[in-house]
Homo-oligomer: 410 residues x 2
Amino acid sequence: MNWNDKFSLDAKAIQASEIRELLKILEDPSILSFAGGIPDPALFPMEEVARIRDRLEQNSAINRQSMQYSQTEGYQPLRNWVAKKFSEPNLGLTADNILITNGAQQSLTLLASAFIDAGTPIGVANPTYLGALQVFGTRRPNYISIETDEHGLIVESVKQAFEAGIKLLYTIPDFQNPGGMTIPEDRRVQIIKLAHEFDVIILEDTAYRELYYDIAPPPSFLTLESQYISANQWHNKGLVIQLGTASKTLMPALRVGWTIAPRVILDKLVLLKQANDLHSSTLNQIITYELSANLLEDHIEKLRSVYGKRRDALVDALHQYLPNCASFNQPKGGMFVWLTLPETLDARVLLEKALSVEKIAFVPGAAFFANGGGENTLRLSFTTCNEEDIRDGMRRLSSLIQQEFLQLAP
Amino acid sequence: MNWNDKFSLDAKAIQASEIRELLKILEDPSILSFAGGIPDPALFPMEEVARIRDRLEQNSAINRQSMQYSQTEGYQPLRNWVAKKFSEPNLGLTADNILITNGAQQSLTLLASAFIDAGTPIGVANPTYLGALQVFGTRRPNYISIETDEHGLIVESVKQAFEAGIKLLYTIPDFQNPGGMTIPEDRRVQIIKLAHEFDVIILEDTAYRELYYDIAPPPSFLTLESQYISANQWHNKGLVIQLGTASKTLMPALRVGWTIAPRVILDKLVLLKQANDLHSSTLNQIITYELSANLLEDHIEKLRSVYGKRRDALVDALHQYLPNCASFNQPKGGMFVWLTLPETLDARVLLEKALSVEKIAFVPGAAFFANGGGENTLRLSFTTCNEEDIRDGMRRLSSLIQQEFLQLAP
């Protein structure tokens, strides 16, 4: 039977990720991986999780309730915490503006379902988060790529996309995945003004925002919009919807994220979430709330210290070893360094050699481009390796790049 | 701003559930509720969960890994367990046929995305699970309703739907939600033959299958199909996709379910799941696996004993008190009794009176009908109330029905 004939148009449009297949080799523990955009499990606050579970088990009623069906919107104390944390004098968030989801990925799923029809023009950065392209791709949008430089989205390119009629713009303004760029405040303000001129929704993904290693990033799009439009008018006129997650600051397998949106949007997202999977794991929401309320700031300080040193180690090693034919950015936070190879090199070919010869992994950049390109780019993550491995890995990778470049030179 | 103009066609088609609004009153603890299709939290195996957590915390590496990103397909031991449990001599399931999801609801989400385009004709029982109508509804299918009697799907009505060109049939063959009916083996076999004649996919939802209080239900559609087609040909020719869940036998907020499908389908569902939310909570999958491997059968025996007595109490009370103008089924398992009022009564009006006068809740039946009808039907759940409350509640509800009937009599 040809099952492929039976799939929906949306499902037919989805293809297996070539990268995903390549990176299955990562289960081999002898590989030194700079591939995954994942936190270091050695830093997970497991002792505090154990204490939260102990406390929960001492209260039989709440403990049992944590395993029962619960409301789609999410665990009320967590919604209150998110509302309070991200509220602003001009914004006035309440729990009614907060939906708890299974990580930012499910927020994207619900938002894609809420706003994207087949053919809907949407704007994404070149490059952008692969997982966003995957989920938007299940709705078959018309991608309009927006160019970036070392400061993220280029305003003129954003304006062109708005003029081309995009309905929404997806952006990761802080320490972007995969490029590491941070959009400066003046660009953010210009993009908000243009969004209101052209009536374009902005989906602001803040996954990496708290992970800064030098200075805090500029105010978020959400905060800046609340200042741009009249006080408390975001609830009626706001175009910025903000996505957050506990995956990078706490632990990914909690599968807890949130969406902050004006009430009319949020009510629709709740209906979509209810249809999607009824509600998120109550236990994981309780753990997320307790961790957030009690130790988040101290924990993030620790992450900044450890990841910051690893960022320095990777950047320093590239300064020292990377041949002149290649270049890279210097991110002020997040998890990623973006590397540009000479145009003659294909990062996918380089990955195959890096895996087989050096047992080093990274992610080739092409998959982060909605409309093709980027074959000579790659993403390096610095969060899971120690500094010695980072220096050693970058030395060997740099040497491989140099060899490959010389071999292909005319 | 009129946000409603901005929603996608799919999102515009979703409306808030009137029932959901009515039932928000359930948070009032003075209400005696026969509404929710939910297990009794007093029966949750919390002590065993605590032991599993203790063991997990003693193994630091696995404990940390339980909070890290993990593979989309699911926790391997759980996939192996599902494959082994549901395999058959003619079927030969392996973990490659199993995808772990956030409960059966997310399985439905992924299957709807895989097979339904706007306007795709799909077959659903009259009545059927409201949550399935909600998730299919987000894809805007063309619902073809299939009539039922006390034995579930009527084969002639199924055949008419197949002749009308439906692409898939969604069915809960055992102790159906909401009707309580169980499809006999001969009907199942006839439906499988017809499905192969007309090339129609069968989505078999087994949520209540293990909760039998008299005798075990007939073999599943999956088992019967594996006998109907040549041995081990399900992998190439199978039309039955089976959905299972731990929500009814263990605990809902684990949010763990699974889909069993031929490999080509499963691979597509994995891509859709990856786009949807990357993966399900690892911790909850570990807990589900440990509970399933170690205590599931004993635990289900306990549920059968407790829920069986409650089923008996509800059926006995209705035999004793329900006026002749109304009728009900006698389910052999599951969670629900289906009640048919005289045609002059509207169950939504009755619910308002039951809530305000008697502080009793149930679910009006109309929401379970894809294409309208059923206004004089309602669903009673017997799993969360004790036997005394059940008898008292049915006595008062019966009395209210009698009063309402007499008031409206000509």
